[in-house]
């Protein structure tokens, strides 16, 4: 057993850190939010150049055949820097689906994800269905040899800047379809999430698609959907670990430097112990995130689900505690938009609720 990262992985993190240190700080983030932008083409291109888009892709698509530990490392850095770019929705979730069931027809699309030229977003969730990834009120019917889709996909991560969507729909069971954002009958209501990442609601109204829009076999997509969600969840858990590490640094710093009653507030035992409890929670969360990154690709489906649900539930609960306690320990300053803490608290909330919230994963864990 070892918990080490390889030399290649360490180098990848270093180059990503360097790129982000150069081009993406909190002021850049604030400026981007002020313009209501979730995506910056220049930053995206420089990230693609580093190879982080190609990392998890198969060699046949120009990728590096990376594993989920690579993805976790990348996600942790993106979380640490509050980068809103649609990395997880595109490179982790959509690319997995295209690789798994897209066949040769989508080889070029995969390669284009790897170079950063194309972005896909994947919609499983639906209004009124909360965190159920197998919601199937969206219907796909065969027509003229092709398909006609009707339905509504809720809060689709990255859909505000994607050129194509992958959506789940009922075609005699869970099925996956590729829908160009520009197709007739597609309405995209774009918005930003609490932390500035982009998303959209997608409404499909008699959207006519060719036969090749179907990914894999009709009615047979359940396992692919669940694995895609789990991979997304594992990446967001790692993203949260990066955000938590930054929250720890900010809070420790504040406890040391803020003085009241003539002494640093961290010297008050009630705050020192509260911080220590957070540090314990962080170690627990980090362990679960590491396990999730290893188990995300486990072919033993039950083992995978169990590890992912454990990590998502644990890190979700820890994130909530971090959000509350770090603000409380900061006092008023922690409530302000100008100070970075609030942005991390919101990033953690979004990560907590996407790809199954804590309750969803607790339920699933206990049912396995």
């Amino acid at each position: 057993m070892n918990f080490d990262y390889t030399e290649e992985q360490k180098m990848l993190v270093q180059s990503l850190e360097r790129t982000l240190a150069k081009s993406y700080d909190f002021e850049t983030y604030r400026a981007q939010l002020a313009e209501k932008a979730s995506h910056d083409p220049a930053l995206w291109a420089s990230l693609a150049e580093l190879g982080i888009m190609a990392m998890p892709l198969p060699e046949a698509a120009g990728g590096f055949d990376g594993n989920h530990t690579d993805i976790a490392l990348i996600s942790t850095e993106l979380g640490r820097r509050l980068v809103p770019e649609p990395y997880v929705s595109n490179v982790v979730v959509a690319a997995y689906i295209l690789g798994a069931v897209g066949g040769d027809a989508h080889g070029e699309n995969l390669a284009a994800i790897g170079t950063g030229e194309k972005r896909f977003a994947t919609g499983f969730y639906e209004p009124g269905e909360r965190h159920n990834p197998l919601a199937l009120n969206t219907k796909a019917e065969q027509s003229d040899g092709g398909w006609v889709l009707n339905g509504h996909k809720a809060v689709v991560l990255g859909a505000d800047t994607a050129g194509d969507f992958i959506v789940s729909a009922d075609a005699g069971g869970p099925s996956l379809f590729v829908v160009p954002a520009e197709a007739d009958g597609v309405t995209v209501r774009k918005y930003q999430l609490l932390d500035g990442r982009g998303a959209a609601d997608i409404v499909l109204n008699n959207v006519a698609l060719g036969p090749d829009a179907l990914l894999g076999d009709a009615g047979a997509a359940e396992e692919v959907i669940l694995e895609a969600v789990d991979r997304g969840a594992a990446a967001l858990v790692a993203d949260s670990v990066g955000a938590i590490e930054e929250v720890i640094e900010m809070t420790k710093d504040y406890l040391r430097t803020r003085t009241q009653f003539g002494r640093p507030i961290g010297s008050f035992q009630v705050l020192a112990h509260r911080m220590v409890d957070l540090l314990i929670e962080y170690e627990q969360a980090k362990s679960m995130s590491m396990e999730a990154s290893v188990e995300a690709t486990n072919e033993d489906v039950n083992a995978r689900k169990k590890a992912i649900s454990a990590a998502k539930a644990k890190v979700g609960a820890v994130s909530r505690t971090f959000g509350k306690d770090s603000i409380q320990m900061h006092g008023g300053i922690g409530m302000t938009d100008e100070y970075a803490l609030g942005a991390y608290v919101k990033r953690l909330l979004v990560n907590e609720m996407l790809f199954g919230d804590t309750d969803y994963h607790l339920d699933r864990y206990s049912s396995l």
Binding site: E129, H131, V155, Y191, L341, K346, M353
Partner: protein, 399 residues
């Protein structure tokens, strides 16, 4: 023992309900009920209606415009206001400054300022906290130096709630830099916010709202007659002012209303094909907070009845503030959880006047996360929960 309302209290409640039903403007009710941001005009319109009725300053002595209500009657009023959707009158003028002027001000100050407080015409802001003086309020640095018949005020206040609307601000200022203890060099002074040298800068909070402000003072001339009470006695008045917050500090009325709207939301959300409110794990969370609120309601009433009998409630107000803030925060947290994925789109101004965007999800869902984030403040302001615990331990444990 009899825990239900007396006949007199029931009939009082009926009067309150009748008045609220008759007098509360529909638009104000709607904004308040749905958790939107009230405009200055809405705040002031409702304050004036209450002032005309003689109900805007219920807890003041009757000779100054109080209603003579008992603490229990006031609690009934508070609850019925929330239930109906009537905004609470902002505390800064009515609950904070008013009693200080009545007890420590002079006749001229009372004649000049109390009418505008009763009618709501004067908008008062609070200038206590500073960037370096939060929990340790006595370390405040804003100075007031007497030059002839004016004080010259310099410094910065922060977390000034709704100060952007302010006509006046009551401030704690340092008038004796050489006092033996920091607490003994502080005075309580009233500043016209239209004076040259006063600048209000917005602070946007993480929920995207503009509620609090920084207020900067640069050589602001304040007439000496605006000093309240004696110079260097301000700390005593400030402590009196904060103690006055006791009644209503537990936020029972608001929390009861939030519980109702939480249940409504949970009934409209579906989980596994049935309403969320029927989901076992969610129901357990709901019952837990409901029972906590039930206990808090009774603890609060028990304290109010004892106060009515003239007993010293001791540290109970700090206890009520701690538990009241925790219950309120939990309710907002559960509303966010109940909202599911539609808690995530950031729509901080959804439904407010002038907001024309297309709503994503329902209004309750859209407001759930901003409210959750915004209410982190209630365990911080007015003496953080850590400070409240220190107050309790000093009184009850001796250290």
């Amino acid at each position: 023992m009899e825990l239900s309302l007396t006949e007199a209290q029931t009939s009082f409640r009926d009067d309150v309900i009748a008045f609220l039903n008759e007098s509360l403007p529909e638009d104000i009710k709607e904004t308040q009920k749905s958790g939107g941001h009230l405009t200055k005009e809405q705040h002031q319109r409702w304050h004036k209606i209450l002032g005309d009725k003689g109900w805007s300053t219920p807890l003041w002595p009757e000779e100054h415009g109080g209603t003579g209500w008992s603490p229990v009657e006031y609690a009934i009023w508070d609850e019925e206001c929330y239930r109906t959707g009537a905004p609470r009158v902002l505390p800064f003028s009515v609950s904070m400054l008013g009693p200080v002027l009545i007890n420590f001000g002079n006749d001229e100050q009372r004649d000049r300022f109390l009418p505008g407080i009763r009618s709501g015409e004067d908008w008062w802001a609070q200038g206590f906290s500073e960037p370096g003086a939060g929990s340790d309020l006595a370390s405040l640095k804003t100075t007031a130096v007497l030059e002839g018949d004016h004080y010259i005020v310099n410094g910065q206040k922060t977390w000034t709630t709704l100060g952007q609307h302010g006509d006046w601000i009551f401030c704690l200022v340092r008038t004796d830099a050489n006092a033996a203890k920091p607490q003994t060099g502080i005075s309580f002074i009233l500043v016209d916010m239209k004076s040259p040298g006063v600048e209000v800068r917005p602070i946007i909070t993480l929920d995207g709202s503009h509620e609090v402000n920084e207020v900067w003072f640069t050589d602001v001339k304040v007439p000496a007659e605006n000093l309240v009470g004696q110079e260097n006695m301000g700390w005593t008045y400030a402590k009196f002012l904060l103690q006055n917050e006791r009644i209503g500090i537990a936020g029972i009325g608001q929390s009861k209303e939030q519980l109702v709207s939480l249940k409504r939301l949970a009934a409209s959300e579906q989980k596994n094909g049935k309403p969320l409110v029927e989901d076992q794990s969610f129901r357990a969370k709901l019952s837990e907070v409901e029972i906590e609120l039930r206990a808090l309601d009774l603890t609060n009433k028990r304290m109010l009845v004892e106060t009515e009998r003239g007993m010293d409630p001791g540290p109970v107000s700090s206890m009520l503030k701690i538990r009241g803030s925790e219950v309120a925060q939990r309710l907002f947290e559960l509303k966010m959880e109940a909202s599911g994925l539609y808690a995530l789109p950031f729509q901080p101004e959804a439904g407010d006047p002038g907001w024309n965007d297309e709503l994503v999800g329902s209004l309750a869902q859209a407001r759930s996360a901003p409210h959750y984030l915004n209410t982190r403040k209630i365990s911080i302001f007015g003496g953080s929960n850590e400070i409240q615990r220190s107050i309790i331990s000093k009184m009850m444990l001796g250290f």
